[in-house]
Symmetry: C2
Amino acid sequence: METELSRELGIEHAIFGFTPFPAVAAAISRAGGLGVLGAVRYTDPQELARDLDLLDGLADGKPYGLDVVMPAKKVEGVTEADVEAMIPDGHRAFVQELLTRHGVPELAEGEASGWRITGWMEEVARNQLDVAFDHPIKLLANALGSPPADVIERAHAHGVLVAALAGSAEHARRHAAAGIDVVVAQGYEAGGHTGEIGSMVLVPEVVEAVAPLPVLAAGGIGSGEQAAAGLSLGAQGVWLGSLWLTTEEADLHSEALTRKLLAAGSGDTVRSRALTGKPARQLRTAWTDAWDDQAGPGTLPMPLQGLLVAEAVSRIQKYEVGELLGTPVGQIVGRMTSERSVQAVVDDLTRGFERAVTRINRIAGRSAT
Amino acid sequence: METELSRELGIEHAIFGFTPFPAVAAAISRAGGLGVLGAVRYTDPQELARDLDLLDGLADGKPYGLDVVMPAKKVEGVTEADVEAMIPDGHRAFVQELLTRHGVPELAEGEASGWRITGWMEEVARNQLDVAFDHPIKLLANALGSPPADVIERAHAHGVLVAALAGSAEHARRHAAAGIDVVVAQGYEAGGHTGEIGSMVLVPEVVEAVAPLPVLAAGGIGSGEQAAAGLSLGAQGVWLGSLWLTTEEADLHSEALTRKLLAAGSGDTVRSRALTGKPARQLRTAWTDAWDDQAGPGTLPMPLQGLLVAEAVSRIQKYEVGELLGTPVGQIVGRMTSERSVQAVVDDLTRGFERAVTRINRIAGRSAT
């Protein structure tokens, strides 16, 4: 599974694996793909430095990347306290009532919730970049719009390719104009923040919009047949996030969440504003149902919603409150039915790809060797 | 583009084209695919007989099919008047207000609206079948669930394959258990009634669920690259509906509607209950906005909504009221940018398919001849 982009990056398979776990990222790179570590949860740059050291040690010299969340719009001079003050009391009461109804215990005195608004602020992302450029990363991806021009320059000075996610051809064109090197076309099926255009339609639209820039197909890819489909649509590689969540190397918040993911079907996700205030695909739970219910107060815009629910999400995860327990994940969750090693997943992807190519050649009346 | 199913049907390319227009269906069949005429608008069996004669004459002896709407659940002993009586006055007033606000003229005295609830009732579909089996159809598709057992038997006695649309693996399994021959896996991107699972995820799920039954990939397919993707996912053919709406042979309600389709992008459709009461993808218009607006009365369940809006839709189409004018269409509408002949569309599909196969072989490191 070799494309111009995979050759440029020096990887064996054009498989890009996004994951919040350093051990998973390293295993993807060792297996011949490119592991890309998600940095959003690292509010402390030292912690990121430690995990990048770990990744580096585990990767056996194979290339890897980093994914940051750098908002396209700067929020200047606003503190977390300012944002806190904008949250209506009725919304706080709604969260309290939900947690009480489901018997979710409080965090211990002084215990911080893991996920805060700070992870979405530019200052934090910039501190992360200082750490990142001290490591031999090969790809820097941004999940929220194009990175600022100086960041792109700095990446290029370090020989690092810059990628940005796009949910529409228009977004992709904006990224290309900003000078990025790779567009990740992320379809409606994907986990996390997605637009409404399905991968089948989006990927070729983005390929045409930014040619000759390379495009990765993201959203709905969890098998070699799906990888072949993404590459047929003109992509130079596939970008997978959800599929690694249930690998043996992953360190999910709880066994209960892993079991929920393994049991879920493709129809068990929902595109909801309940987590961040922007539509993000995630497991459908009593939590998303409550926020999406017309009888409730509705969600707040980003970044208010994320700040409002941060502590609640931490409590739900820590105490493994089954009905409320969820995570961002794509429709491909239906294919995640057993815990496997990352290597086994990659082997399965490349074998399925070869099968699909053989089949498509038969359909085309060609014999391929 | 040859599969076991295309060979069984005696067609050159595994391209299945759904269309409400006999001239388009015939042109698809002449071009080497299988034209499938949508029967839902034929409330009068004589009219269907006339158009099947026409199709037959135009098809040059090539095989073609028919698509009926036969509800899975029987509505016994209920007349159109009974259903009319269930519509709340507030909803009628909402329609009136909408039409008045947009200055939509009345139909002339005695002029009937084209689309009625009757097209969705089993009795009508059964009359259509009597007509259909008098013609050399090769495929009978049902858009709403599995056809009744006696219809499947009758089709098989005539040597006709039976297909049914499915938006989930569970629906597909039910169709297979009912004894149908082909499943059309229709993803979220498609025009008309769709589920929420994107084609990239749905198609392989359905292929696995009903193997060894053949599956057609539907939803988001409008190029040869997309056809290659659908076939990579395990389908034995592709099912296209939207793409033919702007062909030269199509007889759309108005030039204004054709112009709207040619101008629309992939983000200009919406999955809305505004047309029938079930979620159906269509052009986003002031009409769908009004029904999807939380300030409005909301839509009624099928079949009430369809009956409620039938006359209004006819008036909007007849008088070409721009802001309200819409039609069921998939996200692929973004690719429909010029009026072309059906033959040109099919040529484009097969050429794009060959290009995609060459490219995927290069990515796989194979030389294909």
